[in-house]
Amino acid sequence: MEKEEIWQSVLAQIQLMTSPANFATWFQNTKISSLENGRVVISVPNSFVKEWLQQKYSKTILKILKNLVPDIKELVYEIEKSGLKVVNRKIEEVAVPGQLTLQELEIDKKTNLNPKYTFSNFVVGAFNELAYAAAMAVVRNPGQVYNPFFVYGGVGLGKTHLLQAIGNEIVKNFPKKKVRYVPCEKFVSDVILAIKNHQIEDLKSFYQNFDVLLIDDIQFLSGKEKTQEEFFYIFNTLYEKNKQIVISSDRPPKAIPALTERLRSRFEGGIIADISQPDFETRLAILKAKAEEKGVNFSDEILNYIASNIKKNIRELEGALNILVTYQKLNKKSPDLQTVKQLLKNLISPPSKVSTVKKIIKAVAEFYEISEKELLSNSKRKEYVKPRQVAMYLLREDLKCSFPFIGRRFGGKDHTTAIHAYNKIFESLKKDEGLVEEIKEIRERIFS
């Protein structure tokens, strides 16, 4: 006889001896969780039921059980652990439209994955199909093909989504596999903390335990030698045990500055896939998918307008959609195209490709996290000198400003100072890859 059947038959007999209310109170959600070597484990929902059954019903239950299965000798009760877990979690409507939530609360503590990122809401197009195909191969056979899987692409194009979806899918397909998602920044700070507390061995063994390790934004390893060393160690251990490693970055391994050669070659050892910018059709498909997810409907005209005006960044597409959703909830009607244009004015400003003196100074100051005042000051402090030289270089290089003008702009300096700064950066750019990246990013900021 099956366990379920045995327990049903016990319950059937007990039902005859107790009042319906008693029966419902004490026997609801009870079951036999195991039956081995004459030992029966009965799982109960809480401590009250455990105490009660133990003290009041044990004899009766044992007697009935013995009649059914003669070799039963022992009866044990245990409180069911999963009694309260809700499997199908409903995401409730936010009471107030526009009220933002603490997203991190959704994150699964064991895997550090956010369940909202799945393949079902991942839009595939020409821009990411290679990455997607590799991801699918990885989730089918984690650790067996494409190891490591290195994916790179610009901001807001779905790298994190892809990584998290890989993690979530593997958890779903292989519940026993231990998956861990970690943003590289977090990994770096963990390493620093572990070094400080002399717990680096603990940290290593923590990461070596996983079957699938997903590291986001690996470019943060750049220049952090000690962390690279620890990561190299962890990487090798996992790799040798055929554990899947998935890495994302905003640029290919070759372009990550200050990365040790041995790590670079490891990263290039599996498959490298890039995510480029989505084309118009894909952007439209993404908008439609997101709108459906949010349960809203906008006319094709509006979606076309958004898709043709926001080109580089999927996150911005979603942002635009959110603005419209809020509008719709507040006003209980869909916005018309004119309203949409007004609402999205800030997101879709006509791309200004013009760079100005002010923009350059602002972007440089922001990039190096100093104030514009400090940038333009006469201070000789190291943290200001280099940004100042970079700014002078950009003014000369991009705007063709005259050296005397540049000098005057920076606290009335001599034109020779400006020339020196320009030459210094010009020369450094030839050998310092990090500086090349910095300048590239500052330029991106100027034009964004």
Partner: protein, 370 residues
Amino acid sequence: MKVKILKENLLKGLDVVTRVSLKRVSLPILSTCLIETEKNFLKISATNLESGIVWWGLAKIEEEGKTCVEAKFFSNVISNLKEETLTLQTENHLLKIEDKNVSLKIKGVSPEEFPIIPQKDSLERISVNSEKLCESLRKIIGIPSPSLGRPEISGILFSFERDILRLVATDSFRLAEKKIRLSTPLSKAYSLILPQSAAKEIIGIFGKEESEINIYLTPNQIFVESLARELPHPKILFTSKLIEGEYPNYQEIIPKKFKTKVRLGREEFLSQIKTASLFSGKINEIKLNIKEGEVEILSQNPDYGEFKSKIFSKTEGEGISISFNYKFLIEGISSFEEREFDFLFTDPEGPAILKPSEDYFYILMPIKAS
């Protein structure tokens, strides 16, 4: 059973245990309390099968015994009696009180039917000051929202680590953490999620007088016990089931870097927010504009008009413009005792944190500016 007990004492006990006894339930025994003798004490217990309370009161025990009577009813009867000392007697399940002036008999039920309240095993004892615990719980008790469909955040996280107890509550829009220092460091770290209702009971039962209370933990239950003032014997033992599941890793939420910081006076800010709230629209939005040296509070409503006020205060960092649900702001600030607090911002769409002291913070998510 024949027991002599002070009426005031008995009433106190009944007050406590009737907190958990239920009215009209499918299982009538759950609306009763179990009255029994135990050495020199009268012991009264009640339970609703999620939590249970046991109370002990010194009494002159002349004859041992026990019975079960309807708890609320019994408590009403006792509170109306004039006598200072009561003599309780049982005859079968009948509970009798006979004095010079009164004679009453209350119908009882068999005490054998009464549920068994789980017993605390001998585990590490955690000692906490009752006032500190209850005050801290009061600050955050209103935050969890049971309708979220996520049991693990419908309760309050108790996280014990060495000599610190952290109490955490969230409803996914805001999250508060209160730290309590324990007088004796613990040998291990423990963490549990207490149902909100049980936390309310703890406040109700132990919040009235200041004393050291003991907490004991088992994998499925929490026990909170206060001792009698006069002698080393438990006075009240409260137990509750725990919520299964893992509390989210809330430390990740706490912003580490800030763009803007303002120091505000609690009373002044609160009263301005309250006035502003009268003008706010149906999404409860009020807007804060932080500029150098001042905080501007704005709200408007097409039906009533608009409101604008200014508070001069110490500010650090960049200016920011950010909107909040005023209800969440008021609830958070009302839980502060300190006269001033720090208000720190990360981004118009990122978490903001209100911090009256090192031991307490309240994180709040803004409303997307419309």
